[in-house]
């Protein structure tokens, strides 16, 4: 069961045998050594002619760190995450990811960067006609990993999330918690450098929420930068050294300046 393994990584990660989606692409360059993984500088976002829903957002996310993004409903959390996982370009400002300016980046280069980002959606977004196994395997298949190479990691991932015996089940036949675990497995199977999760525990009971958080923590210990948007204040207290970003009416609250000027970068 997942509960017993929540603080340990799947076998497929530590031995580094598992294929990484990023291995198959060359478009995206690695993050600058010692630099921030994500840099937002004066970013604003508006949809159409309306007023900005995000204004003057500036922060840096360090490699291997764990961040919580909080804020009231409508504060702009999902919009901010959309820019993080490259589903949305900002209306103004600078966004750098893995050391590259994404605002001016041509569209055809985006897939290479997306393969380095895992996303857990609040509504799971599993493909309904695919089995749990095929949903989890999707990022590896898209990255061009052969069937021979992906069957092992996908099987291990299924076991790790406790769905080894439900590999062929379709999303409609899975419970909310099971679907959530499949969605998380899909997000992390390719060992992303950045994991973005939008209310990942919003649809599960507290026990399952803690289990899922254990997955993120394990992944974070392996070097992945994790950003979790949540309302759950109890969840935040469970992760040591996690930093918190708070959005209020489209503006980022950073009273300590740690996000804008993290200790490692201060001069």
């Amino acid at each position: 069961m997942l509960a017993d393994e929540r603080t340990s990584a799947p076998v497929l990660w530590p031995d580094a045998r598992a294929p990484r989606a990023g291995d198959a692409m060359t478009e995206a360059s690695p993050a600058r050594p010692g630099g921030a993984m994500v840099e937002f500088d004066g970013v604003g976002l508006r949809y159409g002619p309306d007023a900005e829903i995000l204004s003057d957002i500036s922060f840096n996310l360090q490699p291997g760190s764990f961040y919580f993004l909080t804020g009231a409903s409508g504060a702009g959390k999902t919009s901010l995450l959309k820019m993080l996982y490259l589903a949305q370009r900002p209306s103004r400002g600078i966004v750098r990811l893995f050391g590259e300016d994404l605002v001016a980046m041509p569209r055809h280069r985006l897939p290479g960067f997306r393969r380095r980002i895992g996303v857990v959606f609040q509504d799971f977004r599993l493909i309904p006609h695919l089995s749990a196994r095929d949903n989890i395997a999707l990022p590896l298949r898209i990255a061009g990993v052969s069937e021979e190479d992906l069957s092992g990691p996908v099987g291990e991932m299924l076991s790790w999330i406790g769905l080894g015996d439900r590999a062929d089940a379709h999303p409609a036949t899975l419970s909310g918690g099971e679907q959530q675990r499949v969605a998380i497995a899909r997000a992390v199977i390719a060992r992303p450098q950045l994991l973005v999760a939008d209310e990942p525990t919003g649809n599960v009971d507290p026990e399952m929420a803690m289990r899922l958080l254990g997955l993120f923590e394990a992944l974070n210990r392996l070097g992945t930068t994790v950003v979790v948007a949540t309302h759950d204040i109890h969840l935040i207290s469970r992760i040591e050294n996690a930093q918190m970003m708070r959005l209020e009416k489209g503006r980022l609250s950073d009273p300590t300046g740690a996000l804008r000027y993290p200790p490692a970068n201060r001069t």
């Binding site: 989606a21 692409m25 996982y85 490259l86 589903a87 949305q88 370009r89 569209r107 055809h108 985006l110 897939p111 290479g112 960067f113 997306r114 393969r115 996303v119 977004r125 493909i127 006609h129 695919l130 095929d134 395997a137 999707l138 990022p139 298949r141 898209i142 990255a143 069937e147 899909r186």
Partner: protein
């Protein structure tokens, strides 16, 4: 590649049910009509060309001298004199029996033994084919020759009375070609609508694929393959039905041996065009689907 190769596991990203619903049937109907119009166009164009070539340099001299003996002598003299001219390719007297047989079809006495037919004062006819395509000079020389050998005879250029028919047939061939073009455009429009409908139906899947790093090319190949296969089914069905109709018409046409109808045929180039049309249609559908999909995907980040 008209139908792109996609790994089996990737094909499962689209559900098993057909993407396009009625598309194969609409394409089948359009393909059938396209092939029939193309066949009509090819047949008519060849007929028009055949008629045009046949009448371009041919005239018939009609000798209407009242005395049948004199008439026959004038015809023979004119034929001999014409045959000796350098501007004449061939000169031939139309035998009275041939004239009677032709008229017999209209009089209902094909054997030529009808007393009324035999009593008719038929003119003597001499068919003359000119050398080359220039008719002005030879016509002037022929007029002089006719005035000398058969005064009072009339020269009838075939182009004068068959020309309008040839032009009408050529116009019909152009109209058929226009119909082929319009139906090709309609087929392309069907493919465009199918591609857009497929994108709209599967937008959540496409968005998901994009977000996990799928390229436009990967997504396009998936949909292009499915649309091309659907379209190919429709084109194959339309081709089979059109072929059956053409064979039936061809079988019935084979019994028609007289007049202009006998000149209708497809010829090797026509057959090649008709055989190539379905393949071109599949290629056009795949290309249209690809461009439509790529253009639509570019609107998504």
């Amino acid at each position: 590649m008209i139908i792109p190769r996609v790994p089996v596991q990737h094909r499962r990203l689209l559900p098993d049910r057909r993407l396009s619903g009625p598309t194969p049937w609409v394409i089948a109907i359009l393909m059938m009509l396209t092939l029939l119009a193309a066949a009509a166009g090819v047949g008519l164009a060849r007929s028009a060309n055949a008629i045009g070539a046949a009448i371009a340099g041919r005239v018939t001299v009609q000798i209407v001298t009242a005395n049948p003996v004199t008439r026959a002598e004038q015809a023979a003299a004119l034929r001999r004199a014409a045959a000796a001219q350098p501007f004449v390719l061939a000169a031939r007297s139309v035998e009275p029996e041939e004239l009677q047989a032709t008229l017999g079809q209209w009089f209902g006495a094909a054997e030529g033994d009808d007393p009324v037919l035999k009593s008719l004062p038929l003119p003597a006819l001499v068919d003359i084919d000119f050398v080359g395509e220039d008719r002005t000079g030879p016509m002037r020389q022929l007029q002089a020759l006719v005035a000398r050998e058969a005064p009072g005879a009339r020269i009838i250029p075939h182009a004068e009375w068959l020309g309008p028919v040839a032009r009408l047939i050529r116009s019909l061939a152009w109209i058929a070609g226009g119909m082929v073009l319009l139906m090709t455009l309609a087929s392309a429009a069907v493919v465009i609508m199918t591609a857009r409908a497929a994108l709209a139906t599967h937008f959540p899947t496409i968005e998901m694929l994009h977000l996990i790093g799928a390229t436009d090319r990967q997504i396009t190949r998936l949909f292009q393959r499915r649309i091309a296969i659907d379209t190919a089914y429709g084109i194959a069905l339309g081709t089979v039905v059109a072929a059956a109709i053409l064979l039936l018409i061809g079988w019935q046409w084979s019994g028609v041996t007289s007049g202009l109808a006998a000149t209708a045929s497809f010829g090797p180039a026509g057959w090649a065009l008709l055989l190539a049309l379905p393949l071109l249609a599949i290629a056009l559908a795949a290309l249209t689907a690809r461009q439509t999909l790529l253009a639509a995907l570019k609107k998504i980040l």
